[in-house]
Amino acid sequence: MELEEAIVRSAALLGAGIAMGFGAIGPGIGEGFAAGKACEGAAMRPEESALLTRTMLIGQAVSESTGIYSLVIALLLIFAV
């Protein structure tokens, strides 16, 4: 392996780790916040729990998107670069 090639490959792998690691922070906290609020709501109005769960899941799905972007970028960096 040439030095240039080794440096590019190393940087790509390191980048994959950083992309997935730090990219996972936001969705984790955000989705947990949504789940917490859904629990708070369900404790006050248990009869609305189906609506709350549905809204929570839609909101979480949107906030998951950046985590999936990170996953895609990390996979691309590992396999395609």
Binding site: A16, G21, G26, A35, C39, E40, M56
Partner: protein
Amino acid sequence: LIEWLTDNPGLMENAVAGSRVLGAGIAMGFGAIGAGVGEGYDAGEAVEKISRQPAVGGELTRTMLVGQAVAETSGIFALVISLMLMFSEPEEPGIEVMGAYLGSGLAMGLGALGTGVGAGIAGGQAASSIGRNPGCRRSVMVTMLLGQGVATTPAVFALLIAMILLFAQQFGLFMGNSIEAAMAALGAGIAMGLGALGPGLGTGQAAGGACDGAGRAATDDARRDVTVMMLLGQAVATTPAVFALLVAVILAFGEQILKLGAEGAGMVESLPTAAAMLAAGIAMGAGSIGPGIGTGMAAASASQGTGLNPETNTVLTRTMLIGGAVAQSTSVYSLVIALLLLFYAV
């Protein structure tokens, strides 16, 4: 740089000593943040409640001190590792042991941070809850101690990895000069240190919510439900720390499991492998922060809600577990990427 170090034994010895004391500083410096913030929050909550009702002052001071004593544990772990790093002697100076010493400091320093804050939040909420309703003192104390015990688990994982890295050469690990193994040691420290941060904080928040809920619950049955909900939520919030422990153990025994640092591998060939080891540590470590904190927030609200309105227990368990499972997903992605980096990319 590495050739220059290996050619000059005196320089190498100094470099190893430098990484050792740097690790000691990192361990104690970061390790002090958590306990400091957490215990301060605890004291603040207690003082606030005492100012409203001075009659329960003695009670609240006792609760505060018990909570602070548990929150102090992680700070003491950091002190122990820091002192051990300062006075340990490597059997054979090399760049691998430099990585291990730095990793040991990072694992314990960052690993103590989340737990210190989390256990402090639990203590503070307990003091606040007892201040509001002094009659439920016993059950709030039990919930607090149980919750703080679980919140300390990630710091115990971090202590374990810090010890393995600290005594690596006594176990015959990290004896040589391979850059791959050095980065694996550093990666193990980063994975466990960052990986303990989120779960420590999250489980602490869950315990805080449960202390609040236990103070509001009307019956003994409801208080028991609150504690059960807390433990369930904490189990979910601890999962990322378990993933991080797994990755850290694989990295720490990288020479055996991944066959790192094989003879004859040149500097250029080993560069991508070294990067993959470090990247696996960063991916899993940082990837645990968010899910740990997030699932902890869900568990806190569910425990609080159970105390307020015990008949919603089943609905809350379901909502918490569904929401927690989704919030957990990014830590699973991180685990997948970390394992790919460890086993495939090499």
